[in-house]
């Protein structure tokens, strides 16, 4: 018998604090697996957001920084420009990337910064207890849109993959999901491709990964995967939105 699946080296052996079924755990592991497979752990610097994954620096087994809310792409810009042969990625949630950090992500892609962003879209602000996010769906209930999001009052959801893909500085932008084994494998391929785009110096890369928040959605982890498929996929279609060769 040989081991075919185990904890990657790029993750520490610490217990995750995330809720049961939280897809942060899956995605952290996929990123770590790619870093292991590309053998770039010692040259990687990860930038963690403000959100549930603020503690990702306790999980990733390489140099990491905690960023002020939304500012990870700016931090990454400086690090990558000063150390161009390192791999720099940001890991950000809905509020971090699409609300307070909107300017930073747009400008990082406009400037073609050779960094990679992993955008974890679960339609809500998880850490602070389930408030509305720019990615909350129309009709969806959150603690700050308790009557359900209405376009008239709360505006429309943000489609970040489509938005960023329009910028010429973005070399690879796609949206994947982690609701099924097949989609988890596709997400890993996308993460790998994004890092290879950085490796080749082609420009900014981003993978938007549809994720679950069972606790704030009030669903079991398995139900949450189903909810993602039923409710999020129509608003946030999966696919590659930009891929320069």
């Amino acid at each position: 018998m040989k081991t075919v699946f185990q904890k990657p080296k790029s993750l520490q052996d610490n217990k995750f604090h995330y809720c049961p079924g939280c897809t942060h755990g899956i995605i952290h592991r996929l990123i770590a697996e790619c870093l292991d497979e590309m053998d770039i752990r010692e040259r990687t610097i990860g930038i963690c957001p403000v959100g549930c994954s603020v503690l990702a620096y306790d999980y990733f087994n390489f140099d990491t920084l905690e960023a002020a809310h939304g500012r990870a792409p700016a931090i990454g810009t400086a690090i990558k420009r000063l150390l161009p042969d390192r791999y720099v990625f940001t890991y950000q949630g809905d509020g971090d990337l699409a609300s307070i950090g909107m300017a930073e992500i747009v400008h990082a892609s406009l400037r073609a910064e050779k960094i990679t962003t992993f955008f974890i879209n679960n339609t809500l602000y998880g850490m602070t207890g389930g408030q509305m996010a720019p990615t909350t769906l129309l009709g969806q209930v959150a603690t700050t849109c308790p009557y359900g999001r209405k376009a008239e009052w709360e505006g429309y959801p943000a489609h970040m993959a489509e938005l960023i893909a329009q910028n010429e500085g973005a070399a690879y932008v796609c949206r994947t999901a982690v609701n099924s084994p097949a989609n988890v494998m596709k997400t890993k391929k996308a993460i790998r491709k994004a890092l290879e785009v950085q490796q080749r110096g082609l420009g900014f890369s981003m993978v938007e990964i549809l994720s679950t928040c069972p606790t704030n959605w009030g669903l079991s982890p398995v139900e949450a995967m189903k909810w993602m498929e039923d409710k999020m996929f129509p608003t946030y279609p999966l696919g590659e939105f930009k891929s320069v060769e």
Binding site: E42, A67, R71, T77, H107, R111
Partner: protein, 352 residues
Amino acid sequence: MSRVLMKGNEALAEGAILAGCRGFFGYPITPSSEIAEYMARKMPTIGGVFVQAESELAAINMVYGGSSAGFRVMTASSGPGISLKQEGISFLSEGELPSVIVNVSRGGPGLGGIQPSQADYFQATRGGGHGDYHTMVLAPSGVQEMMDLTMQAFHWADYYRIPVMIMAEGTLGNLMEPITVREPVTEFIDKPWVTNGCKDRAPNVMNTLHLDSDFLEKRNHHLQAKYDQIQQECKRAETFMVEDADIVIVAFGLMGRIAKKSVSEARKQGVKAGLIRPITLWPFPDGVIQAAAQTAKRFLSVEINMGQMIEDIKLALEGRVPVEFYGRIGISPNPEEITRQIVNIAAREGWI
């Protein structure tokens, strides 16, 4: 060492480069934009990095990243932009990230004006951001000090692992004077804590979140111990004719230089005047003020604001000697104006 006619903002930028700064991140704002423009021209020629950031928020966070990666980095801005940077400065302070932040001051509050000002003194010295922290604050009074204090700032930033602010009035940014260009710095402090890739070592983490209150308390005590050390080691001030002064003028920056002329003129009119020009605003040179208070009968704080440094003077004096205030907004008072104030006080008190 050559003598060159330089503009204040450019001397500051050149001083940074001589001190080994290889990353500038900033957003244009009057009257600091020339620093960004100088860096935009120079950085590519020396293998450095210049980024015009999308905002002041982005710029200070680029400084956070660049410093954490182990480089000497800086940003420059003015009033409203410095206000935007406060969260970043708090983060830099807790992360103990060496950095230099320049405020070429303009009038406020609000969008204010673009004339010189000293009204950011509280913001600079009391820490405009959240939490218990201090940044060092240096106040140049001429173009030579724009270069020299910038070089000193980078050294102290690395040595103490602290953000250092250089605060200069807008006038000083645009003033042109002949200066001696200093030699480039060649020796740099080792930084084993940097996040630049964990090759051949355990990973480093740069974080400022400490959810455990015991740890957070220890952390704050650690920072305070550093601030206490800086208080012991780094206070700087220029003194002029204070030994026998009846009235001591306290003024910083360009105002300090103007006041020096006023003190000389007041002496010619028979008033025993003296000057203390704080060079470090934090740590505030209270010792020099306390020493002068042994003989002085009165202090006069002259500032381009509504009265800010005067509070630190009063704290230093602990009520032993009265302190008065003279201030203007949006204009550096000319020497005659201040001389008149000094002479009027002397006459009122019956010294002349």
